[in-house]
């Protein structure tokens, strides 16, 4: 008997139909993958189950009984736990406090001690490294993701919903997580997994349900279908990923010399990074998360200063002290990993987010006047050229875009005028297959137009597919460089074996 059944559930936001007559069922003991493009309505559907969204219509049954999930506390009573895509964490609290809050314990001191013990056990089991003392808001995205996962693991649930848990995890962490889920399922739990990584689905899922445009279109057995089949079912066409090596590699444009850096709390994370970016070349930085990648990206973006070393921009000298605006003028653009913090201003409109970089340089007006008409027109063009879906109007808040579409908007803006250097940090995180290939194509286009592209990614497949040269980053240093195509085994070795 299914533990959870959804029948013809619909949900709309201000007249926009996010979920349309969706049906879904889940039986104990299974790991059920929920797939679909960005904006298909996967998160919305599961948020209904978690009690965060109230459905407009439809029936929900838990263990065979009709229920009205009128709030997260009711979902919790029904044994439903969810790892949210937009982390539900109190940023001022540390990890343990956040988990205690979700546990709803009534004793503070003993509760903290119990939670901390349980967190440590789970961390060990999964190979997670999380700083339990620092406020969650000061942690990296990957660490926040781990805390969000630990919250559900520590507190336990019969119905576990994972909304893109592996987007920022390394392969081994993701595999460990899904193995734990398999054990929980074997003990009778039911798991819903939302993901864009079909490899995981093939390896771990018992069933898949695919959503498109708010509807659930099919339910299938992943063992019986190939990756290409699944992709085709999800987006209605096949995508193929092949390497496109650089055609013409030009002169160096940026030299990083002995860059050292530290986190906000003073912990040193970069210990002398040396590398050179060349025009028309894509340089990939591979490495296990937490080896200094976020700090390096922030230093390149100009939101953080290095504690030592220089960033020599050929023709402009050392830019390590210049601010993001000055860097932009030189043609250095960034696609940050943390879209919500650095990429977009969620409360502002799509149009405002798109034109913000072009106002002062005269594209959309000037200091004293914003040319809204041309701004809106360009935004519309960019939205259709980059296939940003789910845009009802360019005046809509940017935070309403689904993850993948938000990323497409950022890329559309950053590549609007031909850049000289592009720094892309996990640019395809959380993106569906089509959006991913779209984003990759754009980066390669920028490269072929003569830009130097730096790709920082924890996804080794992405690095191998895209890069012309690969640097492996371990403990705050580039420890080894490889010419592409590189050998996966050797890369993997360099990533772990180094002191």
């Amino acid at each position: 008997m299914p533990i959870l059944e959804l029948h013809d559930v619909s949900k709309s936001f201000d007249g926009f139909q996010a979920v349309a007559d969706a049906s879904f069922d889940l039986v104990p003991g299974e790991l059920h993958a929920l797939l679909g493009e960005n904006g298909a309505g996967k998160s919305s559907l599961m948020n209904i189950v978690a009690g965060l969204y109230r459905p407009d219509k439809g029936r929900i049954r838990v263990k065979g009984e009709d229920v009205h999930i009128d709030g997260p506390s009711i979902a919790k009573k029904l044994g439903i736990g969810m790892v949210h895509q937009h982390y539900k964490l109190v940023k001022a609290f540390n990890a343990v406090e956040n988990i205690l809050l979700a546990a709803g314990a009534d004793k503070y001191r003993t509760g903290l001690a119990e939670v901390e013990k349980s967190v440590c056990e789970h961390c060990e089991e999964m190979g997670f490294a999380v700083d339990l003392k620092r406020p969650v808001g000061a942690l990296s995205v990957a660490e926040q993701q781990r805390v969000e996962i630990l919250k559900v693991l520590v507190n336990g649930a019969e119905i576990i919903i994972l909304d893109e848990p592996s987007a920022v995890l390394t392969d081994s962490e993701a595999a460990a997580l899904l193995k734990v889920m398999r054990t929980l399922a074997a003990k009778g739990a039911a798991v819903v997994l939302i993901t864009h990584k079909l490899g995981e689905v093939k390896a771990f899922a018992d069933r898949v349900t695919i959503m498109r445009g708010g509807r659930t279109v099919t339910t299938a057995d992943p063992k019986g279908s190939s990756l290409a089949d699944l992709t085709a079912k999800i987006i209605g066409q096949a995508v193929c990923e092949t390497r496109h090596p650089a055609k013409a590699i030009g002169a160096p444009v940026l030299h990083l010399k002995a860059i050292t850096g530290a986190r906000a709390d003073g912990h040193r994370t970069l210990h002398g990074v040396d590398l050179t970016l060349r025009a028309g070349e894509l340089y990939g930085i591979a490495g296990v998360g937490g080896n200094g990648q976020p700090e390096l990206a922030e230093i390149l973006m100009g939101v953080n200063r290095p504690t030592g070393g220089t960033l020599e921009f050929v023709g402009a000298g050392d830019i390590s002290r210049s601010n993001p605006a000055e860097r932009r003028k030189l043609g250095l653009v960034c696609i940050p990993a943390d879209r919500a913090t650095y990429g977009l201003a969620g409360e502002l409109s799509i149009c405002e987010n798109y034109i913000v970089t072009g106002v002062r340089n005269g594209r959309f007006g000037s200091w004293t006047r914003v040319n809204w008409r041309s701004g809106a027109a360009s935004t519309k063009d960019a939205v259709s050229a980059f296939e940003v879906l789910g845009v009802r109007s360019t005046r809509q808040k940017a935070s309403l875009l689904s993850g993948g579409n938000a990323q497409k908007l950022v890329i559309a803006r950053e590549l609007a005028s031909p850049p000289r250097i592009v720094v892309a940090h996990s640019p395809s995180r959380g993106l569906d297959a089509r959006a991913t290939s779209e984003v990759r194509r754009r980066l390669l286009e920028a490269r072929d137009a003569g830009a130097a592209v730096l790709l920082i990614s924890e996804d080794l497949d992405e690095i191998m597919l895209m890069s012309d040269r690969i640097g492996v980053m371990t403990r705050g240093r580039i420890v080894q460089e490889f010419e592409a195509p590189a050998d996966r085994q050797l890369l993997g070795k360099a990533m772990v074996h180094h002191d």
Binding site: F13, A50, L52, Y53, R54, G71, P72, S73, A75, K76, M82, H84, H86, Y87, K88, L89, V90, K91, A92, F93, E97, N98, L100, L101, A102, G104, A105, D106, K107, Y108, R109, G111, R134, P135, G137, A138, A264, D265, G346, E347, K397, S399, L400
Partner: protein, 313 residues
């Protein structure tokens, strides 16, 4: 000189108590994410209801203090409904509370004939045996009950805020309402609770002004102390003990003025009114130069933001 000093220090608790209680009340309220600027209104309501209670009951200052706290708490329901349920802009709702408090109290005081009527008020309570000690006796052991209770009240509130699950939930509601909501905490319930509990403390501060110090009611008698309390909260970065220290500092300055005047120096009253803000500015400048991680999260992150579940940020 020592007499001057002892006399001055012995008067500090009485001057500091209203600042301290009001600031503590605001901290409780604001920790839940509700920007509370209406302390001036709360204090007036507390002050008048204290006097009214004494006049109606014919004495009982302790009971009057409690009644004043309760009445202010009920009065703050108006603010809670406006900001939490109706999601009115919290600055505007605060201003409404100030003006409502001022208007309502002078109207009721005139109608009821409570204006300028002297009352017995709260007496000093000498601690037997200790109050006769030299120096420390008059400073520490010849105060009134509210001053003695000040530290226990702070200990209690700090304990609840930082060492209990209720406090954890209250802070969560102010720092991350979305996260608190997803964790099954009722954001609105906690905000109502915090606004009303905070108002009770601010009302107590007001009642102490009328019952403990002035021992009568005059219109607008809070005299800007509610505004100083707001500055104190920012100055203390929402930290209760620092707010208490600030209150003692400003109580000390306020207590000094009449004494300095008595020996012939004139200090404008506005200077006193100004110092908390100057100090607040100085602290904020100082704090901004030190990028400590925890300090960055001192202010409730969702302060001033109404919460709706289905809204995406």
């Amino acid at each position: 000189m020592t007499d001057f000093f002892i006399n001055w220090v012995a008067n500090i608790p009485g001057f500091a108590a209203p600042f301290a209680l009001a600031a503590l009340g605001l901290i409780v309220s604001e920790k839940s994410g509700v920007l509370t600027l209406g302390a001036e209104g709360y204090m007036l309501v507390g002050a008048l209801s204290g006097v009214g209670a004494i006049l109606l009951l014919g004495g009982y200052p302790m009971a009057a203090l409690l009644i004043a706290a309760a009445v202010t708490s009920l009065f703050s329901l108006i603010f809670a409904v406006m900001t939490v349920t109706l999601r009115v802009n919290q600055v505007i709702a605060s201003l409404a509370i100030i003006f409502l408090g001022q208007g309502l109290t002078s109207l009721i005081a005139t109608r009821a004939g409570w204006l300028n009527v002297p009352i017995a008020g709260l007496g000093k309570l000498n601690v037997p045996g200790l109050s006769d000690l030299p120096v420390v006796g008059p400073i520490l052991f010849q105060q009134d009950l509210v001053c003695y209770l000040l530290v226990p009240i702070f200990v209690g509130v700090v304990y609840v805020l930082n060492r209990t699950v209720i406090g954890l939930k209250l802070r969560a509601v102010g720092d991350g309402p979305d996260a608190a909501d997803a964790a099954g905490v009722s954001v609105n319930l906690f905000r109502y609770g915090a606004v009303m509990a905070g108002a009770a403390l601010v009302g107590l501060a007001g009642a102490y002004l009328s019952i403990g110090i002035a021992k009568l009611w005059v219109d607008g008698m809070s005299g800007g102390r509610g505004l100083i309390a707001i500055a104190l909260v920012i100055f203390a970065r929402w930290h209760p003990w620092r707010a208490l220290a600030g209150a003692v500092l400003f109580g000390g300055i306020e207590a000094l003025i009449p004494r300095v005047a008595a020996i012939g120096l004139q200090v404008p009253q506005y200077f006193v009114m100004m110092t908390p803000y100057l100090a607040t500015l100085a602290v904020m400048v100082w704090a901004s130069t030190r990028g400590r991680e925890r300090a960055a999260f001192a202010m409730p992150q969702a302060l001033g933001q109404p919460h709706t579940r289905e809204e995406r940020h």
